[in-house]
Symmetry: C2
Subunit: 568 residues, 2 copies
């Protein structure tokens, strides 16, 4: 009974006290510096025995409750501090989706350091550049990628992904454990500057050197809230990691999941068979992934209807009607979001209207393919006229009309826009033209206020003087019943300047039908295009391919397709 009838001397430390960090006395009572670490500490207090993370498909599977996971994070924080990491220092991590990178997202900021996740697909010189540029003081690396940092000049902690004694990463944690046992969370200081950096993520720049995007603790906290709220992640949710956590800090989901007290499952590889096993048998309710990843999922032989509602958060490019229909048919509903590394991942979402329910799949997909409106905790995204030659950087931005036709650049600002490009004030100033972050993505604003991306400026096809959006052409070609995936780029044309060239992957069941009949397929696709696109936007050339070049997040690399075109 909840009263003090029988006081006894025994005492257990209250969870809320165990999980408090030091806060200077001069912080006002009514202010607490925002920091996504709050979420994990709260989860450990309220749901200590709940499953936080499982890592099942490895020789040594691990299953961590929130209590254990949080203790490991604390150990990591102390281990980093013991290793000489100081507030503001960068800690690099190179790992596939696994406990070590999930823990780093909390443990590094608990040490008041900056997490610098590095893409596992990069080459040794690319990684060397990032390590050099970021000035990372320590590297945590998964055994599979240890070769990427063999020349590193700073301490390297290798994780064998076993969670067992003897694993160098576990030994490192044990170093921290000595201090954490003695001092607990109270031995660590809470970062008082909510604008302090939380992460440093390098953009996968297709040309030039990658740029280092600095995000803040405040931004990470607010972005995580928007992601959890808008995709309805709650304590009963189970999130499957398909999106690499190294990509823009997994769109802040490492923090959104702890905020929601959800469970997460980490998979080292994007393997449709494994993924379907979890979708069907592990209670998965949410996952994130680019459309190309989703296409490989719905086309997998294991694909069937999921036994409970699943939400797929899609970004990278817009879902087509075909994909939307196939996902819906399997019980998977889609949240289409848009953003960049510079906006903590998702910045806008295509919020559905009730009236769309009455539309045909095709019509609904057109609505859904748009990027929509700014997120809960972001400020409005705008579409503005691109700068003119010689415009000063602080020139007032002018919005394009909401006519669904005039193309401008998507610009963004507010709490979930990046703080800066690390050590690059010139690039930062250029990116922040007119007091907004310029995305470089070209879009129109529809009369209903929905933003719809046309293309990145370099992807626009200028055909006979008309601007043709490669994305818009792809959307229409994808409606062809035999096409699994399609990408369109410009190819020089003697008469029209440029004309669209389509690269197509056929559906498995359609491939035999067109085997050896490329010209017939090309004619068929062109007929299809003519019914849906103006003449200048119809593909002049069609190439049937087995696969398309993709980035680690599943984005199609048009730059690689353009290289192929250049050689034709």
């Amino acid at each position: 009974m909840s009263c003090n009838f029988h006081p006894t001397p025994e005492s257990v430390p209250p969870p809320n006290v165990q999980y408090q960090l030091q806060l200077p006395k001069d912080i006002p009572v009514y202010r607490h510096p925002l920091n996504p670490l709050s979420f994990l500490l709260r989860a450990a207090q309220i749901h200590p025995t709940k499953l936080a993370l499982s890592h099942p498909d490895v020789p040594h599977p691990v299953y961590y409750t929130y209590s254990v996971f949080t203790q490991r994070v604390q150990n990591l924080a102390y281990a980093l501090i013991q290793a000489g990491i100081e507030p503001g220092d960068r800690v690099a991590i190179i790992a596939p989706n696994s406990p070590v990178i999930a823990e780093a997202h909390h443990g590094v900021i608990a040490a008041r350091a900056v997490i610098c996740p590095i893409n596992t697909r990069l080459t040794v010189p690319e990684v060397a550049y990032i390590l050099e540029h970021s000035g990372a003081k320590l590297i945590i690396v998964d055994y599979e990628y240890a070769r990427l940092v063999s020349g590193a000049k700073v301490p390297v902690i290798i994780s064998n992904d076993t969670g067992r004694a003897g694993d160098p990463y576990e030994t490192f944690l044990t170093n921290g454990r000595i201090f954490s046992q003695e001092r607990g969370w109270a031995g660590l200081a809470w970062e008082t500057d909510e604008d302090a950096a939380s992460s440093l993520c390098y953009t996968s720049g297709t040309t030039g050197r990658p740029k280092g995007v600095i995000t803040t603790l405040r931004g990470s906290y607010l972005a995580a809230i928007a992601n959890a709220y808008d995709t309805r992640i709650h304590p009963e949710s189970v999130y499957l990691w398909i999106l690499p956590m190294f990509h823009a800090c997994g769109w802040t989901y490492p923090w959104a999941l702890t905020m929601a007290f959800a469970s997460q499952i980490t998979l080292r590889t994007v393997n449709p068979k494994l993924i379907w096993n979890h979708l069907l048998n592990s209670g998965v309710t949410h996952y994130c992934g680019a459309p190309t990843v989703q296409i490989s999922l719905v086309s997998a032989p294991e694909a069937r209807k999921v036994p409970r509602p699943v939400t797929a958060i899609i970004a990278g490019s817009a879902p087509t009607a075909q994909l939307l229909g196939e996902l819906e048919g399997k019980g998977i509903s889609v949240v289409h979001v848009y953003g960049l590394t510079e906006t903590y991942g998702p910045f806008t979402a295509c919020y559905a209207q009730d009236s769309w329910k009455k539309l045909s799949l095709d019509e609904r997909a057109r609505k859904y393919a748009r990027q929509g409106f700014a997120f809960l905790t972001s400020e409005p995204a705008r579409v503005v006229y691109p700068p003119k030659e010689g415009d000063p950087l602080d020139a007032e931005l002018k919005d394009v009309p909401a006519d669904g036709k005039t193309v401008g650049e998507i610009v963004m600002r507010g709490n979930i826009a990046m703080k800066e490009y690390f050590k690059d004030p010139a690039a930062t100033a250029k990116a922040f033209r007119g007091g907004h972050f310029g995305s470089g993505d070209l879009a129109v604003m529809h009369p209903d206020g929905y933003i719809a991306i046309q293309d990145r400026s370099k992807d626009i096809i200028i055909s006979g003087g008309e601007n043709a959006s490669s994305l818009a052409i792809e959307q229409e070609l994808a409606a062809h019943p035999d096409i699994l995936e399609v990408s369109v780029v410009a190819r020089p044309h003697p008469k029209w300047g440029e004309r669209p060239m389509a690269f197509v992957i056929l559906k498995t069941q359609a491939a035999p039908k067109w085997k050896g009949k490329h010209a017939d397929f090309e004619a068929d696709l062109k007929r299809h295009a003519k019914t849906r696109l103006p003449g200048f936007a119809c593909p002049e050339w069609v190439s049937v391919v087995e696969e398309l070049p993709k980035t680690s997040t599943g984005k199609i690399q048009k730059v690689a397709l353009r290289k192929i075109v250049a050689k034709l």
Copy 2:
């Protein structure tokens, strides 16, 4: 089709531009000052035609879409500015739940002023004190309460609650409309200081003068997020106003609802018949109310099973097993929250554990009656030893052990704790002892970290040297099958110092059974008590009453019961 094939000259102003306020150029790209007005502006952009507010049970019902509601808010902001309201000025409002007070929660802060909602149940001198103390520059008052401000020395705008031309409040809005048509949102400045005051709410102090609680824009924004997220309010949600909006700004729900794009229904009175009509026929999914309000609802003759899941957010006191059972039986699930005006309403919630599902209703109710853990955007609530005589105000607070027995005071801090008591630095300093807001509520901390309120210090009954919690006694007495509602206070006793006296309302169906048999009922209740409570906590006296004295929010006024006891 989302591309720029056929540009046309027509243009419509994009919604995201229409809804932007002025922001100085020196605000960094990555920072936007938090302000709950963001939520309404976003709702108007994304869901302009969605029903924002309906006010149905009046001679002139109104139904406002988000577009119309937001326009009215803009008009109000301009009208206030035209009336001479400057940033930081207080604007008082006295109204039952109705459009005018909903609009004021957005319009006053859009004018960068501070909303000061006044309890409609106060007397003329009490209102005069608040008007004087707050220094309100303008008063908006509902016609039914106009008499409360007849002596006011500042402009008074009367609302006849018609939404029609000729209504003085509508005329006032029309004044604003002249400017808003011309200037739009762009004519208003965004408050750059997120710690600026958003509201000034006076506590319903049972003794002494009421104190004015200042909240901030940042706190209102973050509290609204926590309320919407934790109670799962979403675009399809319909919220029924039962809690008075004048009480702690309706626990920030005016903002939480717009954040969620939800619809709200305002009712001028708490009338169980009307409420049931809406619960059964208007798609209601959420409402807030004290347990006494809920008891009147489940006991109403109209009560039946609701046609869709409804969430009742309960605060003010803990729900009993009986109430929980009756609500669940009607399809209404409960979220039990705890807080004060000084914490924007809810600061903690009793987060349910999966393991509770297996418990009996009685056992589950005991778990559920606890105040639980801090909210998403609040910092941990602590239970600390009360100050000793002569302790300095900055003395370190010491947590009581998590033994479920040692009584301490609940203290709180962080983003959803108040900024200060208005014009009362001495009371503020005292309330902020040890860098936390002291609630004055006595509680224990259970080993699982759940806080459970015992009593306010003055409600503790000291019986034979033992501290008996009146709340704990009430919980046990309420389990008696014939009791509708019960309140327990201390009554002086020659031998034991104090002993508990119970005031009981019988269930309608039980009343005839005990008619004229008071002594039998008393004996029966005492037998019941003996099986559940230690001897010193059993009631010595039982009084069967027709009703219990309550505050405007439905809290039982123990001070009034103690007055009755004093006369016995």
